[in-house]
Amino acid sequence: MNPPRLPSSVWPYIASIAALLVLWEIAASLVHSRVLPTPMAVLLVLMRDTADGTLPYHLVITLARVAVSFFLALLLGSAIGIVMGRSILLDRLGDSWLIVFLNLPALVTIVLCYVWFGLTEVAAILAVTINKIPNVVVTVREGARALSRDLLEMAQVFQFGRYKTLRHVVLPALGPFIIAAARSGLAIVWKIVLVVELLGRSSGVGFQINLFFQLFDVASILAYTIAFVAVIQLLELGVLQPLERRANRWRR
């Protein structure tokens, strides 16, 4: 149904990226230093590390960590959000906890998880998940508070039962909120994963960047960053946005 994307809407996008590359090129040639490599130098590193497999290896490991903690946070956060949005008592009980966790710096959670549970994969995933859950809870709770009482009553009279009510009344109504949480979640989670890897893992993009930092290898840092940002953008465009359109297809 959607018309094919018009070139006119893509041109500004391409032009702005081109402008960025040009500025970068100019700055790099003016500075002429190892700490600010040219775009071409970064591209060469990107191709070299892709060809020898190190970049894909670390990228996949980081993506796996992002995926696991992302889904865990989304699942647990949505469940907590629904419960808090539907029960005044639990909302009051949980609210102060929520505020504590919302204001807990990511770095503190990460360090504490590593201290308490060791430098393990579980501790790493746990730290990222705990960081993300409060944001999901806040967003989904808003949605759960706004659930239509009319429709819930309808479901009760027509004896939908718990499962049917959740699947056909509650979750579709929360869809836009969960997707909003997912989109902001993806952006936050991958940044935290890099820090987790830097502090306590021996693989992944964050670990590599720490290594390059010690070597002052800026070209490699930029190459890994660009590769990773590109993958996340693809996920956003290729998975989250189509999902959002699908969840909203009933709207006029």
Binding site: D150, Q156, V157, F158, H168, G175, W250, R251, R252
Partner: protein, 248 residues
């Protein structure tokens, strides 16, 4: 045979903000026979919706007793046509109806027949937001009939529709009801509509509502087509119960 027995001693809304506590229903008692179509008529705001919500089990904060029809061979106890259609906007018309059906039964053909009978055959796969208000009401009606309930509750289902549409839907209601007999409680503030539909009219008093009168309609249903007949009955009722009906 009694299908429904209502004995509500008191239904009170607690004070909220500056609005004081409000006694909505008091000493409200009546019975409905099996297969009877009863219209509840009363002034706006007299607690008619409150009464239906209590019967439907949506409101438990009252004192008294509501006895529903005894359970029988898998028929769901209650179908409810709310004042607004209350359709799931993210499910198609057909899905909305099928979701209300008891699980696992192969009702597809019956639902499609019902959709055709209600003139909804063409919109079975349309999302409710694309429907007109009248169409939405029809879907709500079809949903309530589709589950073949022992007791059908309707809360001013045709209010704010234009008269020809409302009239068609009233005929439709009677047609389906005659084909698929069930006990019906129809709430309205429109005496004319009640005379068109009911076996018996129960008049409610202004709040706190109780039964002001129970009036059987003596005219057979197919003789109610003409405006003069309805007007005659209406005048008789107004003459006899004018006091409690001043608002109608």
């Amino acid at each position: 045979m009694t299908a429904l027995a209502i004995d509500i001693r008191e239904k009170r809304y607690p004070a909220v903000g500056r609005a004081g506590a409000n006694l909505a229903l008091q000493a409200l008692r009546f019975e409905v026979a099996r297969g009877e179509l009863v219209c509840i008529v009363g002034p706006s705001g007299c607690g008619k919706t409150t009464l239906l919500n209590i019967i439907a089990g949506l409101d438990h904060a009252y004192s008294g007793q509501v006895t529903l029809p005894p359970a029988s061979d898998g028929r769901p106890p209650i179908g409810y046509v709310f004042q607004n259609a209350r359709l799931l906007p993210w499910r198609t018309v057909l899905e909305n109806i099928e979701l209300a059906l008891p699980q696992g039964a192969g009702h597809r053909q019956r639902v499609l027949d019902l959709l055709a009978a209600t003139g909804l055959g063409d919109v079975a796969h349309v999302y409710p937001e694309r429907l007109s208000v009248g169409m939405g009401r029809r879907v709500a009606l079809a949903r309530a009939f589709a589950i073949d309930p022992q007791l059908l509750l309707l809360d001013e289902p045709f209010v704010s529709l234009d008269e020809p549409t409302a009239d068609r839907l009233r005929q439709l209601l009677i047609e389906i009801w005659q084909r698929q007999p069930t006990t019906v409680l129809f709430v309205t503030h429109d005496l004319r509509e009640a005379i068109l539909l009911a076996d018996r009219i129960i008049l409610l008093s202004p709040p706190p509502a109780r039964v002001a009168a129970s009036i059987p309609i003596p005219v057979p249903r197919d003789a109610r087509g003409s405006d003069t007949t309805v007007d005659t009955v209406r005048r008789q009722i107004l003459d006899e119960f004018g006091e409690s009906l001043r608002a109608l």
